[in-house]
Every structure is written in structure tokens, then in C-alpha cells.
Symmetry: C2
Subunit: 238 residues, 2 copies
């Protein structure tokens, strides 16, 4: 029995899962993408359970998400994922999100890096070649993650101290909470008037419990792009 | 075709959904409970879509959750829900959470109040009697929500300003974020050493975007019970 090259998960968005704009918020979209990726990796035998036997784990390194629209309240939608490429150090996994009638709502590209649990340095997954047969050439017509330059002249700066509910399985800041910290740089009126059509993230360092971070944002000249850097400014006494 | 008295949803807990203790965190447990309740209400024809036609909606008023243990990483578990009681103003909906082999991991009791969308005052659901046939007498052997007294002598006080990612469909603070604010009153070491066996919440007022709240906690003399009050202390200039 072989695991399919494309793994799918169908969800129905409940009211309690919606943001104020009555659709799936970007942070939850990223969370769902991670969920579906995890399920597929488990099915392929390259998930947490298998990698942890060799002292390794996958960490999400890059995300590019591009949405025509987000799923709406009560809507049933499907996230499909497949592997575009991989080697012993990372894998490139793509996604599309479709409505019940098959319309594409959006696409995502992600890059996952295998690290050693102890050293937190890149690992070498010698046995990963077994998944080569699942790689497929399915279209994901959005630009790959671009180079993100750290914000130097920030017009919006907020401090945040990492708390218990922000910490995940790996004892670092959850991937979706990063997205929320970025989203929270703008106010509610902004999101009533604007649509987040593309979101890119580069996870560079692990952020731990009690860390105090500065969230710094700069707007592009045309006002259409917001770049945000989350940087550690110290460890709070907690 | 009649809707079953007991509605069930089976989940598998991925690593990215776990808290630092590698299990389902309390806030996510509450979120899943709300999700499953919403699904059942929709199936019964008393969900958001139907109530909104009459200008009403359900809001969660009380929760009592009691867990023997929380679902662990990779574990498949099922949440079952049923209506114990209802009238024109509120409904009492119970839950059990079971592991794949049928062991009960925990129980929850919730009280939902129907309110008028415009006035935000209790509504009168005259047509609700149609669900009477679905009420069942299934055991939920945990104490109902008790009377929670506001904290007067707090030993832990934190301020928090409600941000975009904290706001839901109804434009108030999300039910699960309330739980996170309560959880975040203690530190990570505390949760490594202690288990949240029972959690009770009473949602009294709606908290809106930009509100500044004080989260105040007091410990009982035996150190086994933490009572927390979230109270609005002003509206921030955002």
C-alpha cells in the first residue's frame, strides 16, 4: 500500500474559528497548513515519530501564502499538500486550498528543515530518499518565498513577552503565534478595509518562554507591503 | 432523517497543536468543545445560520471542564456532545472526551445563552422546542459550574490589551483566548509540575477590541485552586 503523493484534509469553518471579518484568519490558515503537512509526513513515515527515533525533528523555516480569498463562515474547504522537492536537509512542500466546488482559494509554499533535537543544528536525514517516489510536479503558481530584509526604520514597534500559551511542543514560540504577532501590528479598522493577499514568513531563530521581543514594522512607499521583524530584546524575569 | 442525540467528532492531535507538556492545552480543549457544539447545533437546525435569521445568536456563558488526562501527541480522540436540557433562553450541553479504546479522558458541561444580535440582551427562542426529542439522559459525572466570586485580594495581576488576533466573529474576545489569559497567570515551571484537572469559566461581559483588561488571580489556602477575574480597566487608544 503506497501513501498518495497528494494528501488532503477537508474542514468546515465554524463561527468560533472566524476572525472579525468572518473568515479564516491568516494565523489559523498557517496552523492548518502545518497540520496537513504533519499528517502527510506521518503517513509517509517521515513524521515526528520516525524522525525522533534518530534524534531529529522538522522545523518550519519558510512560508509563502497567497490567497484569492479566505474560507468564509460555514464553508467547507480542502487543503491539499504535496512534496515538490527534498534532500537530506530540507523539504519543499506545497499546498492549495480549494472550496467545495473545486475553486482554488489560495496556494502556499513551505520549506521545512530537519534539525538535531539536542544541538538544534541542521540534521542529515540519510534515509529520507524513500519518499522520492511521492514527489510530484503539481502546479503551485505563486512566487517562492523571497529574501526578507530585517526592518531598519520601523514606524510601528510593540514589545511582547512570550507566555505559557504561546509555547509549543518544541518549547519555542508557536509558528501561528508569530503570525498573530505580525497581524497585531495593524488595528482592526485596517483589516476591515484591507485584505492580506500574500504573507511570507522566515523563521530564523527559536524564541523561548519568557523572552521579551520587539515587533517592528515598516510600510513600503506604496503602502501595500508591511515588513515586520520580531527580534529578541532580552529575557524577562518571570 | 433525524439528527442523532449524540454528535461526535474524532481528532488526531498533531505536534504543532500541543503545548509544552506535549498534550492538548486547556484553551484548545475549550475551542474543540465549542467546535463540536457548533456542529451539533447546525445539524439540529438551531445553529448560527438559523438563529441569525431571527436576529439571534448563541453565546457561551459557562464552562466546567474536568480531565483525567489531556489527549497526547499523535493520539486520536473523540469528543461526544449532547443536550441535557434547554428552554427558550439557554441550553445546557454536555461532553465527554474519549480515547481510541473508549477510555474517558474527561467531561465538560456548558451553558449557552441566546442573545439578540442588536441589543445583546437575552433572546426568546420560541421555535426551539423542535429539538426536545434530541435531549437525552447520558451520564456526565462532574459537578456543574459553581458560583465564581470575583477576586478581591489578587496576588498575581497582569494587564493586557485586546488585539486583532484576539477578536472573533462576534467582534469580542474569543472564548479560548480568555482561557489563555487565565493559563498565562502562572509560569511554565508551574505547568511542568501541575496538572489542570478542573477548569471553570463564567463569561459575564463582552470584551471588545482595544480594551485594556486586568487579569487578577488569587490562590486558595491549600494552593490547589486558582481563581482569576478578567475585568476591563479602560479602552486603550489604538
Amino acid at each position: 500500500m503506497s501513501t498518495p503523493s497528494v494528501h488532503s484534509h477537508t474542514y468546515t469553518l465554524t463561527a468560533a474559528q472566524c476572525c472579525a471579518q468572518r473568515e479564516m484568519p491568516p494565523a489559523q490558515t498557517v496552523q492548518r497548513i502545518i497540520e496537513v503537512a504533519t499528517e502527510h509526513a506521518d503517513l509517509l513515515g517521515v513524521g515526528y515519530r520516525t524522525l525522533s527515533l534518530g534524534g531529529c525533528l522538522w522545523v518550519l523555516s519558510r512560508v509563502a501564502l497567497e490567497m484569492n480569498r479566505y474560507p468564509a463562515v460555514g464553508e467547507t474547504f480542502t487543503i491539499n499538500t504535496w512534496i515538490e522537492n527534498f534532500n537530506r536537509h530540507f523539504s519543499q512542500r506545497n499546498f492549495d486550498i480549494t472550496s467545495a466546488d473545486g475553486t482554488v482559494l489560495g496556494y502556499a509554499r513551505t520549506i521545512w528543515v530537519a534539525i538535531d533535537m539536542t544541538t538544534r543544528r541542521p540534521a542529515n536525514l540519510s534515509s529520507i530518499s524513500a519518499i522520492a517516489s511521492t514527489v510530484i510536479d503539481r502546479p503551485c503558481p505563486i512566487a517562492p518565498p523571497s529574501k526578507i530584509h530585517p526592518v531598519t526604520e520601523a514606524s510601528i514597534v510593540n514589545d511582547y513577552t512570550i507566555r505559557v500559551a504561546d509555547i509549543d511542543f518544541n518549547r519555542h514560540l508557536t509558528s501561528s503565534r508569530y503570525v498573530e504577532l505580525v497581524i497585531d501590528q495593524m488595528d482592526l479598522d485596517f483589516y476591515d478595509a484591507h485584505f492580506v493577499s500574500r504573507l511570507e514568513i522566515e523563521y530564523r531563530r527559536e524564541t523561548h518562554y519568557g523572552s521579551n521581543v520587539a515587533v517592528s514594522s515598516a510600510l513600503s512607499a506604496d503602502g501595500r507591503t508591511i515588513t515586520t521583524t520580531i527580534s529578541q530584546i532580552g529575557r524577562a524575569h518571570v
